[in-house]
Symmetry: C2
Subunit: 305 residues, 2 copies
């Protein structure tokens, strides 16, 4: 099935305890598309870049069967740029620079072919932009997922809640789930967020894994403990990409299949953090991905006597 992803394509400069990289490829849409491309073909990417963005990088996505018709290239414009520094424990980071550049005027126009995508992943963007994408869809979608962050809860809560009410799956972190719902217990937060109209809630907990809530069931996927985490940037988007790619491929949105999709997302995220930028994601084999699935199964498996 087809997957539409809307979000950023960007440059990142990143410093972690394991090194430093300047102006490498980043952006939610980039991570989502790469991760999803291991599971499904027929991906539509809708984003905006300046003409400073390397054509070679875009061509690589085309080779992964990503339809780039919806990528606006602004001539004379500069691509979105983010720069950050991670603390020693990798759980916290400081943003050093956020240059919106062409993203400030991002007004996504969906190509005709993307309007009927069965699966849609809306990356973290202003709720108004996310809403405009929803308005352009033809209504035939099977599952629409949305990612957001505390920043929009601080400055545009009403608009955000309205957009959330129109999607089927929401991905946020634990603090954001508490802020959005006003509840301290994640179980109660999930109930409140389901009441906003969301069928599935995925709470991302970084190195502590992810929780999936339906209205009457829950599932816990750990993060795979790794010998070395080089750079956590993009892990959340990679998780979303693996999850949505898996769903688009299997075309089954039952809770049982959502659980497998969460593991697919967790597996892809565990690769993402092993290197800077998309380096690790660009060089994966299906054998490596299947092996990692098995590692998750083993990590979580116990037989009851």
């Amino acid at each position: 099935m087809s997957l539409l992803t809307v979000g950023t394509v960007a440059f990142d400069s990143i410093e972690t305890p394991h090194g430093q990289v300047e102006k490498v490829i980043g952006g939610a849409c980039t991570y989502i598309s790469w991760a999803a491309s291991y599971f499904t073909e027929n991906i539509h990417l809708v984003s905006i870049v300046g003409d400073d963005f390397p054509t070679g990088e875009l061509n690589m996505l085309v080779q992964r069967s990503v339809n780039m018709e919806g990528l606006e290239v602004v001539h004379g414009g500069k691509s979105f740029f983010w720069s950050g520094r991670y603390h020693d424990n990798m759980n916290n980071r400081d943003t050093i620079i956020t240059d919106l550049n062409v993203l400030a005027d991002f007004n996504p126009i969906l190509p005709e072919s993307a309007k009927s995508a069965k699966y849609v992943m809306l990356g973290n963007l202003t709720p108004a932009v996310q809403k405009s994408v929803l308005d352009q869809l033809d209504g035939s979608q099977k599952l629409i997922a949305l990612d957001t962050m505390n920043y929009w809860m601080d400055i545009a809560m009403d608009e955000l809640v309205e957009v959330i009410g129109r999607v089927d799956l929401l991905t946020i972190n634990d603090e954001e789930a508490k802020q959005l719902s006003g509840e301290n217990s994640l179980v109660k937060a999930a109930q409140a967020i389901h009441d906003m109209g969301v069928q599935y809630l995925v709470i991302k907990k970084g190195e502590h894994g992810a929780l999936l809530f339906s209205t009457d069931d829950m599932f816990y996927a750990p993060a795979l403990p790794l010998t070395q985490v080089v750079d956590p940037t993009g892990a959340g988007d990679t998780f979303a990409g693996g999850l949505m790619g898996y769903l688009a491929n299997t075309d089954d949105i039952s809770m049982n299949n959502m659980k497998r999709a969460i593991i697919a997302g967790s597996a892809m995220a565990s690769f993402c953090v092993e290197d800077f930028s998309l380096n690790r994601l660009k060089s994966l084999s299906m054998g490596e991905i299947k092996e990692r699935f098995s590692k998750f199964k083993h990590l979580m498996y116990f037989d009851m006597l």
Copy 2:
């Protein structure tokens, strides 16, 4: 099989967002013994209290088949007292009062019957006291577990590492694992701690669950998401009690059985936090415990296609 537990029996005064209790029953040994008593008989408790400690509470433990021969009651002495206040998110707490009282002179003398206990759980105490217990054991133990904390790493690291080298299982939290090993990755930390002589390392992550490492395998048990956490006090000790009680009952220290034991500990801890003090732990049925085992299995289960 017999289980020996050495640690505190105490009073706690606790404030959480869900209420406040004054001078309720607490202490590592108390939580460990209660939790273990649902899985095994023949528990030996070695601790110290003042004569201010209610006889009724001690009798309840005797009724749970806990041998109290090793409990020293200091006439005219006051029991260990701790008072703390939890922050809104329950992950952080401030200690308000720590009155060691009789604990300051705790010099545990093992009764003859306890020296051959097959399973031993050393609660968090000064490494010197833990060492003196190890010196009194008859050497026939099948598994010795030890709990400790960052405080001893700060002031008595050498003594602590020596004691750790003499036990089979260590329980600490993630920050402590990093401090003890000097490694930021938990996988590397586990390797370093195995090199200290420990066969099994359990990293407690509170609301994020627990990780179990053997030298060549690992297992992740989530914490059960709960509608309401009333008071996290004693959860770590309850976890250890469930784990050790399960091991003593099954008498199998293979990695596969350790995984089940970790779930037993997690299940008992999930009850502990549902009320203040030992209130919830005192009123459990085996049916409730089995039901919670099943909830963990369900929370972690996915079928691979």
